[in-house]
Every structure is written in structure tokens, then in C-alpha cells.
């Protein structure tokens, strides 16, 4: 079975500060990993994805994430946040073949302080 844990339900960061949102996954094989964002009153949008290769992947709006297999983690980072980054962020995992079940975490609500 696969699962995703996002240990922080809410994170508050000052504008211009750096950000890390944590994600740990459980899956016995090699995973596909995703971060999605949901802005207020909007649908979910893909932020970035990891399939293979370079463990650091770049996404839109200056976001990046690092796949650390030994730690089963895929934390999301941004060097300097903007007020428009306020949203709910979801980490997700799927198998890299066959089974196409995609499992999401509970989400982290990010609030940016002026």
C-alpha cells in the first residue's frame, strides 16, 4: 500500500522568507512524486513532478523539490515567498508502472504574512 504524510497542516511564513513544506511517502518500489497547489476558490494545479533522474526538480514560480530515497521524502522548497503563494499544497505519490493509483497527502495550508 502507498501513503503520503504531510506533517504540517498549517505553515505561516513572512513574505520574502524561505519556505520548506514537508512530505514523506510510503511505497515499496520506485515512486512517481508530485506537488500540487490549490489557490483559493480554484482547482488543483500541478506544481512539479519527479519521475527519475536528477533528484532536485524545478517547478513553476520558483518552487523546487528534492527526492531523497533514503529518507522517503520529497520536501517542497522556495527561496523567497510572495503573498500570492498563499494556498494549500498537496504532495502525491504513484507507482512508476502498472498500478495507477495516485495517493494524496492531507495538504498543508500556507499563509504568507506581510
Amino acid at each position: 500500500a502507498q501513503s503520503v504524510t504531510q506533517p504540517d497542516a498549517r505553515v505561516t511564513v513572512s513574505e520574502g522568507a524561505s519556505l520548506q513544506l514537508r512530505c514523506k511517502y510510503s511505497y515499496s518500489g520506485t515512486p512517481y512524486l508530485f506537488w500540487y497547489v490549490q489557490y483559493p476558490r480554484q482547482g488543483l494545479q500541478l506544481l512539479l513532478k519527479y519521475y527519475s533522474g536528477d533528484p532536485v526538480v524545478q517547478g513553476v514560480n520558483g518552487f523546487e523539490a528534492e527526492f531523497i530515497k533514503s529518507n522517503s521524502s520529497f520536501h517542497l522548497r522556495k527561496a523567497s515567498v510572495h503573498w500570492s503563494d498563499s494556498a494549500v499544497y498537496f504532495c502525491a505519490v504513484s507507482a512508476n508502472y502498472g498500478n495507477e493509483k495516485i495517493t494524496f497527502g492531507a495538504g498543508t495550508k500556507l499563509t504568507i504574512k506581510p
Partner: protein, 111 residues
């Protein structure tokens, strides 16, 4: 590009009522999903389908039925709506389990 259309956008039902939510996609994706989004609980997978007429149970399938009669459509039925239930149901599609594309959701309220 493509789009996922969910109908209706808002659904109000009575306790015990059977309710059906519909989803259409024009991406020509093989795989389709139904997720339930509750505040504080993230997205929980109800059913998914990897091809026409295929159904796979997710983690939250009890109390729901699904149907995939065509590649482009995937419907979800709440078999007996629970009083005070309130959630957003999200339909999604994917080209073979990679990136998922979402619809805008159906907001369910049960009175």
C-alpha cells in the same frame, strides 16, 4: 489542451437519497479518478478506472458506486446520502498514472 467538465457544480440532496455526479474529459486519457476533498483531510480516492468498463476501488469506496461506460466519461453515485454531509468531489484524469488533471469539482450538501 483539454478540459474536465464536472456536473453539476453544486448538488443539494436529502438524507438517504441516491445522487449521481458526472464527469467528462476530452484529453483522451486512459485513467480517470474520483476523489473526495474534506477540509483538513486532503484528497481521498474513492474509485478509479484505467480503461473503459474498468473499476478499481480506492480507500473510500464504501457508500459509493462508479461507472465508466465510455473512455471519456466517469460517473459517481452516492448510494445513500448522509445527513449533514458536506464535501467537494473532484474528478481527474491521467495518461496512464502520471500527471493528474483535475476538474473544478462538485460541491455536495446533504440536508
Amino acid at each position: 489542451g483539454g478540459i474536465i467538465t464536472q456536473t453539476p457544480k453544486f448538488l443539494i440532496g436529502q438524507e438517504g437519497q441516491k445522487l449521481t455526479l458526472k464527469c467528462q474529459q476530452n484529453f483522451n486519457h486512459d485513467t480517470m479518478y474520483w476523489y473526495r476533498q474534506d477540509s483538513g483531510k486532503g484528497l481521498r480516492l474513492i474509485y478509479y478506472s484505467i480503461t473503459e468498463n474498468d473499476l478499481q476501488k480506492g480507500d473510500l469506496s464504501e457508500g459509493y458506486d462508479a461507472s465508466r461506460e465510455k473512455k471519456s466519461s466517469f460517473s459517481l453515485t452516492v448510494t445513500s446520502a448522509q445527513k449533514n454531509e458536506m464535501a467537494v468531489f473532484l474528478c481527474a484524469s491521467s495518461p496512464r498514472g502520471t500527471e493528474v488533471f483535475f476538474g473544478k469539482g462538485t460541491r455536495l450538501t446533504v440536508v
